[in-house]
């Protein structure tokens, strides 16, 4: 081996890699990485995450843009998909594999082997004692007792070496291998899965193609054509509420599903905890709200817009906010509107909703005239109105069936429809994760409740016995006492 000037051995690239691998796969590194993963998960629970609460993230950007920009650079609004979080769990994954696989091979080899030889100096071991018994029969009695207590036995000359609890390591390895299986399941799900959401008015049909979704994300290796070709019609939706607390007590969505599309449709009930399943794809009922149904006419009475408009709920009594845009009138007309399912009013708050069910609805409109900005090329939310090139021409609260004449035309509040938000998820990896989880618990139970220990019996200077319990697990002393008693009793019987 050559040495460089500093005197340290020149291990070369291969040596360096081997050294790095050994460091990475050491138990200490694995533990540090595990702790680090726990610490790294904390910021994601303290700061709002973009995929969970995008509005709150936006509010960070409006209150302190500079700070928010820096937080964003550190991926604090997207912790669990950030490079640094991924780096930790990928390293942990590697470390776990490097730690567990060699141990598994080692253990598989050790399973068939006999217990190690009896040490020369038994008196250094735990619970060492000399039993006053007949040394002629001692080995036979001890062997019988150890067999009855399910020890593996190795008889070598005048001594017995016995061991019990190999399944501790089996359970331990099973647990760690299962963790790897869970991670494989997670990876499969994110690489080959898809997830999307679509809002659907009751009465409408949803066809499972990418363009039907409001938003959809595919895994890296998931083809866009791989969606299950079903069609779903929302035939009815019933929400029931507690009359005292206004809290929802049940949501029931009745659908008619044709899978694949074109075949005869079946009626399927979807509830919050009861998704519809087809293979690894599931359809969930995730949220609901109201779409007021309006008709807009121009001055001469021609219909320029008619239909339900999806509004977004703002509070637990389902006051809902939305925008109605009429690009086909000149100048263009837009409404910022709120739908109140059951109206109440007070001096301080004006009109507000007192109950989430539609009992006495109002449609509160502010009418705007000008340029809707739809041709600017910038994508625009369908739920809000860009009023920068518009002016307000009126304000009105409509009861069901009434009409508001805003000068350039009129708008009629004809009715309402409930809408449901469907979440459609395909996760082909979750079965692996589930099996991983089940085996992990089994492995954990086996490893934590199996006690591994050795017992030795040696005949020579009297009958010596001693033991060794792995990790100082209790119970060995009792076992040695029982063995001693068996040996002493045998002496009594033989006399």
């Amino acid at each position: 081996m050559t040495t460089n000037k500093s005197g340290a051995p020149d291990i070369g690239l291969v040596g360096l890699l081997r050294w790095a691998w050994r460091q990475l796969t050491s138990m200490r590194t694995a533990l540090i990485l595990l702790m680090l993963l726990g610490v790294a998960a904390i910021p994601g629970s303290l700061f709002p995450q973009r995929n969970q609460n995008p509005q709150k993230v936006d509010s960070y950007f409006t209150t302190d843009p500079t700070l928010a920009k820096w937080m964003d650079r550190l991926h604090l609004f997207n912790v669990y998909a950030s490079p640094w979080f991924s780096a930790i769990y990928l390293l942990l994954f590697l470390s776990l594999i490097g730690c567990v696989l060699p141990r598994t091979f080692h253990h598989l080899k050790a399973i068939g082997k006999k217990p190690p030889l009896t040490p020369r100096n038994l008196d250094r071991m735990e619970g060492y004692r000399i039993v006053s018994t007949d040394s002629e029969i001692a080995l036979g009695v001890a062997k019988k007792w150890l067999k009855e207590n399910h020890f593996r036995i190795r008889v070598e000359g005048d001594s017995i070496s016995a061991e019990k609890g190999y399944s501790r390591e089996t359970g331990n390895l099973m647990f760690h291998l299962s963790l790897i299986l869970i991670l494989v399941g997670v990876a499969l799900g994110s690489l080959f899965g898809m997830k999307g959401e679509a809002i659907l008015n009751v009465g409408d049909r949803f066809i499972n193609t990418p363009t039907s979704y409001d938003n959809i994300t595919f895994g890296k290796f998931q083809g866009q054509g791989s969606l299950v070709p079903f069609s779903l019609t929302a035939t009815n939706f019933v929400a029931t509420y507690d009359p005292v607390t206004s809290e929802p007590s049940n949501y029931v969505l009745t659908t008619s599903i044709a899978n694949p599309i074109g075949t005869s449709a079946k009626t399927v009930i979807i509830k919050v905890n009861k998704p519809w399943t087809s293979g690894s794809t599931k359809v969930y009922l995730q949220a609901n709200g109201y779409s007021p149904f309006v008709t807009v006419r121009d001055k001469s009475g021609n219909i320029t817009f008619q239909g339900p408009v999806i509004f977004l709920p703002q509070d637990s009594n389902l006051s809902s906010l939305g925008a109605i845009k009429i690009p086909d009138m000149t100048p263009q007309i837009g409404f910022i509107a709120s739908f109140i399912p059951t109206a109440g009013s007070s001096e301080a708050r004006g009109i507000f909703s007192t109950y989430p069910e539609v009992l006495d609805p109002r449609l509160v409109l502010s009418a705007w005239q000008g340029n809707l900005g739809l041709d600017s090329g910038n994508p625009q939310s369908v739920y809000s109105l860009d009023t920068s090139k518009m002016r307000k021409i009126g304000l009105k609260a409509l009861t069901l069936g009434s009409t508001y004449n805003f000068g350039a035309g009129s708008i009629t509040f004809d009715g309402w429809k409930p809408w449901v938000n469907l979440q459609i998820v395909d996760d082909p990896g979750k079965m692996y994760a589930l099996f991983g989880a089940i085996f992990a618990i089994l492995g954990l139970l086996i490893s934590l409740f199996t006690r591994q220990r050795r017992i030795w019996v040696k005949v020579g200077n009297g009958v010596e016995i001693a033991g060794l319990a792995k990790n100082g697990i209790p119970g060995l002393a009792e076992e040695l006492t029982a063995l001693t008693r068996a040996l002493v009793d045998a002496k009594g019987e033989s006399e």
Partner: protein, 298 residues
């Protein structure tokens, strides 16, 4: 009885429990403080628990009575809403207090742990007191997301784990206090009947080794439920995140003990740290956190 009557009966039982556990608490303090005796020979304060045996027995009897009445309160609460009584933080708290009492009484039948009666009765009192005053919610049906058989399984596993984590923390804290005394010299007389440092160390380890698989199960049951309710089995919701952090902390504790050989003080501090991540999750995330686990206010 009607649902409303049952709910009122449950509330009254909780108030009765407050009285019963207060008596238990005073009986246990009386047991310690009235056993003080100034030894004439050594001129030192000594404790003679034989003098106050009756107070100790009253304390234990009250713990048993409290357990029964609290059990009735939890059951009638569930009956009044026609479901398992684990729908909001008030109900978690009263069930948790029941589990803590059960854990103590179970330990009492096996070991001499009357010394734990004092910390356990005060913990139960504080939990019930906060529950009925701050966390109280009228008995109501569940919101749709909670209507699942997993509610019983997932939440019960989490509550039992939480109760055992807290007992393990009490034991670890006792270890640290006793160790301080022993480093300075001898334990004060009142602490003589508390088990040896070694036993305390072993006890907290055994509690954690026993409950760690259950906690793992609680997380997995939650993941299975989340898959059917929210569409993904793991979403890094704040509650999930902290459950994971607690899991990591206890996993580190077990590794530190089994493979690195940590014992005593270091292990006790790690145990307390891991237990506080659980408490943080229960208190902070429930009250101030946002996420899918926050239902109906609390």
């Amino acid at each position: 009885m009607t649902s409303t009557n049952l709910a009122f009966f449950s509330n009254d039982s909780i108030y009765a429990c407050l009285v019963i556990f207060t008596i238990a608490f005073f009986a246990h303090t009386f047991e310690v403080s009235w056993s003080v005796r100034n030894s004439s020979e050594t001129d030192r304060t000594e404790f003679d628990f034989s003098k106050t045996q009756r107070a100790g027995r009253v304390g234990t009897a009250m713990m048993i009575l409290g357990f029964i009445v609290l059990g009735v309160a939890v059951i009638t609460r569930g009956l009044s809403a026609h479901r398992v009584p684990w729908g909001n933080m008030y109900e978690f708290s009263i069930t948790g207090a029941l589990m803590l009492t059960a854990a103590y009484l179970f330990a009492f039948t096996k070991y001499k742990v009357r010394w734990l009666g004092l910390p356990v009765s005060i913990s139960v009192l504080l939990t019930l007191g906060t529950a009925i005053t701050v966390l109280y919610r009228p008995s109501a049906p569940l919101v749709p997301a909670l209507k699942s058989p997993w509610l019983a399984i997932h939440v019960l596993a989490a509550i039992i784990s939480g109760g055992v984590f807290l007992v393990a923390n009490l034991v670890a804290a006792t270890f640290l206090i006793m160790e301080r005394y022993e480093l300075k010299g001898e334990r004060p007389a009142w602490a003589q009947r508390i088990p040896s440092l070694d036993s305390l160390d072993q006890l907290s380890y055994r509690l954690i080794a026993f409950v760690f698989p259950l906690w793992t199960f609680a997380i997995i049951a939650g993941a299975i439920w989340a898959e059917s309710a929210w569409g993904k089995y793991w979403g890094w919701d704040p509650k999930e995140t902290w459950a994971f952090i607690t899991w990591v902390a206890y996993a580190a504790y077990l590794h530190a003990r089994v493979t690195v050989g940590w014992r005593g003080r270091k292990a006790a501090w790690l145990c307390i740290f891991a237990g506080s991540t659980f408490l943080f999750n229960y208190i902070y995330v429930n009250i101030w956190g946002t996420g899918l686990h926050t239902y109906s206010g609390l």
